[in-house]
Symmetry: C2
Subunit: 331 residues, 2 copies
């Protein structure tokens, strides 16, 4: 990185921490583009992060996640907290512009400096979603937001992992969804700290909540022998909300706080450790990928990949050859 | 790996190639569990793979992907081809057991040795979905299947990437889906070689097809200057099918063949190269991950990750320290 980029990074980071929202937005763009500025800024901001409550919100399309996010923002603001949202969701009104009602709700905060909303593309991140969203969360955390909501659609592996790496993971369901969506549910429950049955004014909300509680009870008890990499320690609470009217939202915010309290006393570091590992690993992988495609290696790398594409070399042999090439540089 | 495991791998691989379906199933289980047997078997099977047509099928929940897969199996069988299916889809009737009708349709092939159906969990793969599905496809390819269909739900990054790494990628839509699903569509079109408007007997199918064609025309022309890593070379065809009745399915199979023909003459290696890169990269990443957690490194790795979790070390510094530790081993 040039000295100029370093100076620019420091200036952006300082301004973002001091409350300059335009600088914050620029820094997040740098993070999303993986510019050298982002790395320099993150190195300096990182020690200031670690105070925010990171809440992942995931669920199938149609469960009303975005309306729930809008309602949580309103509730948190009433409680005097600052809120940032990272929306990694192709069906989000923020990203995709699907639902006019929600978009209007979000625009209510256009002039509120204590609410910051950012959409992130869910595709096209070479190293996956995790590093970009983790870096964006660290920037918002360092910038002093109390509550950071990370919204993802709960049907893809990367998207679920991003939400599940938060301190508290909320899985949003809705009553009486189609069979296909029902099948998606079961996999999602594994990552939940709090389960929300949204659209609680629809028929069947109570029954859906009862079914979910029964499903959660039927799984093995999770409060014994949980290791840092093991399952979540507490059986999740199941709440009913109607995000469109605000019903149940104060109770949801209280449940999030309760989970954070539990998390801090008990298995506090599990989620943070997982998040740190994903973040570090993604950076490490990106460094290696860059080296394999740099001037010294690109030709040999491409030739080897062509051999694999033509089934002349198997991928295990190719991986070992590439590792060998990297090592011989260092010898 | 022990000599015993090596012998077992060779025996399983030989039996799978010779047509033993139980051996094939066991080998795929080994692939999914990433057992040492899988690596040994894949090394020996890999040169025999490369002849099958790999077709990725993706789309939002509710578009009828699984019914379409069932209809494609029937059509390909009528044409005398052997077919294997890898279903990486939490909403698939194969994986999730959601739709009784489709499940019955699939069971029609229980006694047909020329159809092989395998579901794969879409979550819990430490290194991502790509390596497991690529390895499974290579095994089925070596086992001699003509057509390999890889079904994924098109709302998650990993899932879309898995389908998009096939020789031919089919994006399935349905008419008049909800706004949230509409928003998902746009992102999916980027990876399509063939677009299918399924449920063609529903109102609005023709209009949906026209809209999709207009969206595809509106994007930049894709037949000029496409590099091996660039966008797909041809504008995708848009077809209307009614998978439940079989309408349009012969035309779809013909379109898949046409795309493969194009692919073979022109930008033939793009998809294969991408697939090879993802496969090799995933193996390389897994090798590194194992080393960082082996007896020699695990303690230092965990301590460093704890420092990142507590925001005492930034993730870039941690990544560089871990890379340094790996290098010093080799010196």
């Amino acid at each position: 990185m040039t000295a100029d980029a370093g100076a620019k990074a420091a200036a952006l980071a300082d301004a973002a921490v001091a409350g300059d929202r335009l600088a914050l937005a620029r820094l997040l763009t740098a993070v999303e583009n993986r510019s050298p500025i982002a790395e320099a800024a993150l190195r300096s901001l990182f020690p200031m992060a670690g105070r925010a409550h990171l809440v992942g919100i995931t669920g199938p399309p149609g469960s009303g996640k975005s309306t729930l996010v809008a309602a949580l923002i309103a509730e948190a603001r009433r409680a005097g907290r600052t809120v940032a949202v990272i929306a990694v969701d192709p069906s989000s009104p923020i990203t995709g512009g699907a639902l006019l009602g929600d978009r209007v709700r979000m625009q209510a905060y256009a002039d509120d400096g204590d609410v910051f909303i950012r959409s992130m593309a869910s595709r096209g991140h070479a190293g996956g979603l995790a590093p970009t969203s983790a870096a964006a969360a660290a920037v918002l955390d360092a910038a002093g937001f109390d509550l950071i909501l990370i919204e993802t659609v709960g049907t893809g592996q990367s998207e679920v992992e991003v939400a599940a790496a938060a301190d508290t993971t909320v899985v949003v369901e809705a009553p009486e969804m189609g069979d296909e969506v029902q099948a998606i549910k079961a996999g999602l429950l594994e990552v939940a700290d709090v389960v929300v049955v949204n659209k609680g004014d629809k028929p069947g909300a109570q029954r859906t909540a009862s079914q979910l509680r029964a499903m959660l009870v039927a799984t093995a008890p999770r409060d014994a022998g949980a290791s840092s990499s093991g399952p979540r320690p507490k059986r999740p609470e199941v709440l009913i909300t109607t995000a469109a009217t605000g019903d149940g939202i104060p109770e949801l915010l209280a449940a999030l706080d309760r989970h954070r309290g539990l998390d801090r006393v008990g298995e506090s570091t599990a989620a943070r450790h997982t998040r740190a590992e994903a973040h570090v690993w993604a950076i490490l992988a990106e460094r290696l990928r860059e080296r394999l495609h740099d001037d010294a290696h690109a030709t040999a790398t491409m030739a080897l990949l062509d051999e694999v594409a033509d089934h002349r070399t198997d991928p295990y042999t190719a991986a070992d050859l590439l590792l060998g090439a990297l090592r011989s540089d260092d010898a």
